[in-house]
Symmetry: D2
Subunit: 428 residues, 4 copies
């Protein structure tokens, strides 16, 4: 069967001196890094939607990328061809995982029931490809934002019937994820938010979202799905405001609805920056709060205020993130999902290969770089030393009284930021 | 005793047709609004720091505003003259409340103990002015960010001695607040944050901050202070990242440290917008989460990425905020503190009067406007109607099964945003 | 012929005390304002693309708005029905102008030639509707950004064939604009920019853009089109960077390519704010530079970093813009084009009416407000007085010598910003 | 004479395998790079103000950095000690240039005349240090923003007396720059802008600024100063809006006032990003417009909306900038001025050394990296090939007619962005 990726070569592992453009220099899945293999630390995945579905259309222009399967009159035949081509691409790329939404792999259909049938059929198709290629499912999810019925939210929709439609999709997507051996199930609340407060009841929508998540957790246990449930924060876009704004906000939501311990977060770099955070902040915060689950790896454009979902290429930028992940002991069942898309002008089939290879190389290089920093030890030592002082015991009054008696004049100490930044830069 | 505000007139209440520049048109403290007086809803306060301390200096230039008391060789004499002038200004303005930091009203001194003595002395001076004028204290707070000792934070400082200095100040500022009949005590963690993650232990700093707040709560109860404790969120500035980023983040912090019910939030308009929120979002979120305490009223400049702390002048902009406050039943012990400062070029004594009058008029007009909307009833009715549908009972599977059986195709309904926005605009 | 706007009523002019939701309170086309009619100052227009073409689709979701004509198998029949419905809507609304892109009114076709034929046919259809209704054309333009051929720009495309396609469209759209009595012709360079500097030759693309504009000017004169040519600035979106960033940038471009005097600017509120400017800044700058042509009236969302194109509803926000336009003596052949779109959830036919009425009312109220400020005179007097000092004559050395001799100590004067802001607010 | 930098070692050139923290690895002034020495390409400078004057104070806190000379009762003695310490630091660092404002090196004094005398005296002191150390002056400038007299601008101030004060300072600072062999003279219009349009006459202020610059140019020629005049763009801060917003805006200003050819731009990285541009955009734009003069090297914080002026540490980030500079043939009389400051907590004397070494190393590494890309040739070849098509000759109508006759369907070509980004990343 012919497809657009047919002529692409498998990505080779290159010698250090090679001048080849396309190939692995840093990504060595089996290479040992601080006691694990690189593949165990990173667990990289291809995103089905960006790589095989998204068309290059933007709010001002039509599709540009070749997606012949989307034009096929028989939607299920198109879905099969897409899977064929997608796995062919992933085989050439050679990364171990992929991720998908229900609607990426199977057509919506004319009714909920037909959509469900389509997904079941395509799950078998995917299973066969997975079996054949050894490519595994990092996570599945349900698309609760593209269909017009979700324009006012899915779980937070004022209309209980829309809530029920979301229940149909999430139950099914989670069960298909389980069937395919998926290791996590993700919920991105793309339209769980509002466009105007004037027509919105925040407390009511929060209660609905809390109930929905609790139903999902309950169902997960009922069916014995052992993967991790993950919420993916984003501050806005498409809605004016999205409830799962950032890690700290999701943490508060989880506590409020007694979901802590049941649900973690999937942190996307570009969502972090849209929320006014650095990527490493969100990862560090999740680690500190005990909810670090997985990451969607990409980058935004600092001059553009929307989700540009670009492939990362600057390893040094990722070093602080890798440091936090190494310190946290890794991502467990999570991984690095390339939630990144080709620029609209990158219409050649090999562009998709270039993009993934560049992104993966940046991650692998950053991991090695961060490991060198850990092994060097000076950064960690500086931090340890900074917090060496033992807290004073006692009540506010006891501490204050002692301070007055001692006539405290604390000695200022340098934060050493530039020295530490240089230490990081130098170990590249 | 002469001072710079001496020649300012008391602000008059004007007739509707008056062409006077300076005077009250909307602010009528006794006017009834939805069952309370306007003064009870708004409880406006003058901020001691911006109005009587801040000099007009900015990162690129020296002081411009007349603050003769700051130049006096005897700092305590300066503090007395500042109080004299400040209360003279507030008398002319005629608003019922004020707010202060410990270091606004009394000099730092050469030691913790001298600072404490200064504050005690000045508390008596303030008490006399309050007695004489009837002006009350909305809230007090401690300045834990200006002194170099706090450069790496106060409660979150790696150095336990700095934590202890903060304990001295907060205990004292809270006790002075109590002594002066203050109705709230505010904690703004201006430097409780980080400049770089490379030298920061997030979990440790969170634990310190949680402990500090718990000590403060315990002390409050020990001394029998009946005011409300308030955290004031801000996302950054002066630090790169501040822990009390926004309402949702503070909520998570309060829950984590078992402080919910003990501490509420003081929401500043400009801090909300720096955090990527609308002001009304933060107020609505606090109301929904049960932590709405008070507001710092001002506005930012949408084109400038720092805390510009301007006086509000656009009543319509404030209507959504007033709607949330009316719906929430008011601010309780909180109020509207004008955490707003003169532009650096506004060096004439009357500028401070213009600024406060304009800001107060905008708030009063917005309150009346919002009350008209509530009385009109159409906005509330539209919202109620939108959420009229009863949630479906049952588990995820039960809901999903029923949806499939019914072959749901939810009817899309307009969100009516433009209609509702017009409804709001029209009632101005 | 039936259509979705059939049941909408004409918008009535209301009595002051009316409680009606939909109707004109401020917009009185014939009302005199500073020596002209309101209609002459504002010249409002409906945007064909947002109101009759755009579907509510966004980067994360499908169409929601009813656009039955887009689904018709015969594209030209659809275009005719769209025109029928569009003019029916505009009749009910009652505003005097509209604006369009070539591809809004006529289908792209399978070839350049077919697209041209379609446009010619539809121009006759539009002409008949215009004749019948008296609705006039404020401006026409060509869509040089939606078709995939323009993904790397139109006039700035590295491929000369794409430049030639743009020439086909612009020539034709300008000629059709002339034929329909359009009073301006607009060029928005939506993809005249770059996605990465790595593959971009700035100087070459600037030269191409300059040549293209010069060819357009030459053609305008050749065909005797007497309307004004307008460039519409925008900083980015869809491209990472767009060459016509803001008014000052376009000014430099016009000078560089000897186009000053031939081309003015069409300033969009939301484009101004995306560029980091206030709307009034861009209008004032264009007036100061002599290139103020027309405005696209809408507003952005200060918390969302993309072009939200919302209808304005806050009259006070628009007062500074109206002040600049009044001072500049109006917009000449320009006007106020509602380049504003319904929120995606606003799917009821009457929503489009609500949206336009609210936007128009805000503009009309702001115009009256600004006129009151001009008539009051105090704002203008304060500004005049501020610049009353006569410049010193002489060379740098002469001025400096005199200053040293005189031992200058310039007296600081208050900028009076708060007073002036209050003056503006109070005249609402 | 003792000072705070006394105990710092000279920065050594390190062997490749060295584990030392402080030392040169990439910076090798004499190393040949594409036909010049590294020092000739980069011409790095220390900024007197950040390194020896700025105190670490910020809008929320007092000075933290040790600047003993600022506390000396005799201001001229302080200025001498500052120069002594500053040159001692620069000797240890070993970079070839420095830059200063008049007020950095000499006290303001009680009058214009005293300020001038102070500057003359200190110019001799600086000259002696320069003579002794061989350190040269990259550029001088006048501080027209710190003194309260400039609160409403210098050249654009409504008060002609303030304009005259600015003339005194600029004439003198330029003459001192000439006397000290400075190679450029910079004008940063920190307060040439506005805080509110309500009190501002844009056209008048533009005329004043244009006149001022023309006077400066005339004076430059009169005194025979052969250095380059440079305007430094910034969009805002401290003012709400600054006239010299970005390169394109300054270009328009220069053309309008017939200054093109006389004045170039000094581009600061953090100013570029505050203006919504990438650093490389501003450099590329200046090169394309023929006004590239010099750069202020630093970086901003993408999450903080003010001028953070941090030292760069990520070489890859700087590669696109270096590519533009290499393509432009270098900076001529310009250089890389470290307009970067220590974080407020970096209070140890060695922090200043760490900061400069890290910044310089990033620049040197980026230069070498960019040179490798030029030598590799593939990036340049891809760009050349993209623009290989020859423009069509003829008028708009001729081009359009030919396109219709040929029935153009331009073949879409990939922009190859990801491939090119990887090519850049890989050559690090």
């Amino acid at each position: 069967m012919s497809h657009i990726f047919q002529s692409l070569p498998p990505v080779p592992f290159l010698d250090p001196g090679s001048q080849e453009e396309l190939g692995w220099r840093h990504w060595r899945p089996e290479a040992p890094v601080l006691g694990r293999s690189m593949a165990e630390w990173l667990r990289p995945a291809v995103a089905y939607w960006h790589s095989f579905v998204a068309s290059g259309a933007d709010p001002f222009g039509a599709a540009t990328l070749p997606r012949p399967w989307e034009a096929m009159p028989d939607a299920m035949a198109g879905a099969r061809q897409k899977a064929e081509a997608g796995f062919a691409f992933m085989e050439r790329l050679g990364l171990p995982f992929f991720c998908f939404h229900d609607r990426d792999v199977a057509p919506e259909g004319a009714s909920l029931r037909e959509g469900a049938r389509n997904l079941d059929t395509m799950a078998d198709v995917l299973a066969a490809h997975m079996q054949r290629t050894g490519i595994r499912l990092l996570w599945g999810t349900a698309n609760l934002f593209s269909h017009p019925r979700y324009m006012a939210g899915a779980a937070t929709n004022p209309d209980p019937e829309v809530f029920a439609c979301a229940a149909v999709q999430v139950r099914h997507a989670m069960e298909v994820t389980q069937r395919l051996g998926g290791e996590n199930y993700v919920l991105w609340g793309g339209r769980e938010g509002y466009d105007t407060l004037l027509n919105t009841d925040l407390a009511r929508e929060d209660a609905q979202l809390g109930r929905f998540l609790n139903l999902v957790v309950e169902h997960k246990h009922k069916i014995g799905f052992t993967g991790t449930l993950l919420i993916e924060p984003k501050p806005h876009e498409p809605t004016k405001h999205q409830y799962d704004r950032d890690v700290a906000t999701v943490y508060g939501f989880l506590v409020r609805h007694r979901l802590l311990g049941e649900v973690k977060v999937n942190i996307e770099a570009n969502h972090a920056t849209l929320a006014g955070h650095s990527f490493e902040h969100e990862v560090a915060m999740a680690a500190a709060l005990g909810v670090l689950g997985s990451v969607d790896i990409n980058r935004g454009d600092p001059q553009n205020g929307w989700d540009t979902d670009q492939f990362p290429t600057n390893a040094q930028e990722l070093v602080p993130v890798m440091l936090e992940i190494l310190r946290a002991g890794g991502l467990g069942s999570g991984g690095f999902n390339f939630d990144a898309k080709l620029r609209r002008q990158s219409i050649a089939p090999e562009d998709l290969l270039h993009a993934h290879v560049g992104g993966m190389e940046a991650c692998a290089a950053a991991l090695l770089w961060a490991a060198r920093i850990i092994e060097d030890g000076r950064l960690e030592a500086a931090r340890r030393e900074r917090y060496a002082g033992a807290p004073w015991p006692g009540s506010l009054a006891e501490i204050a009284d002692r301070a007055l008696v001692e006539g405290l004049e604390p000695r200022p100490r340098s934060g050493g930021q530039e020295r530490l930044e240089n230490l990081v830069a130098r170990l590249g």
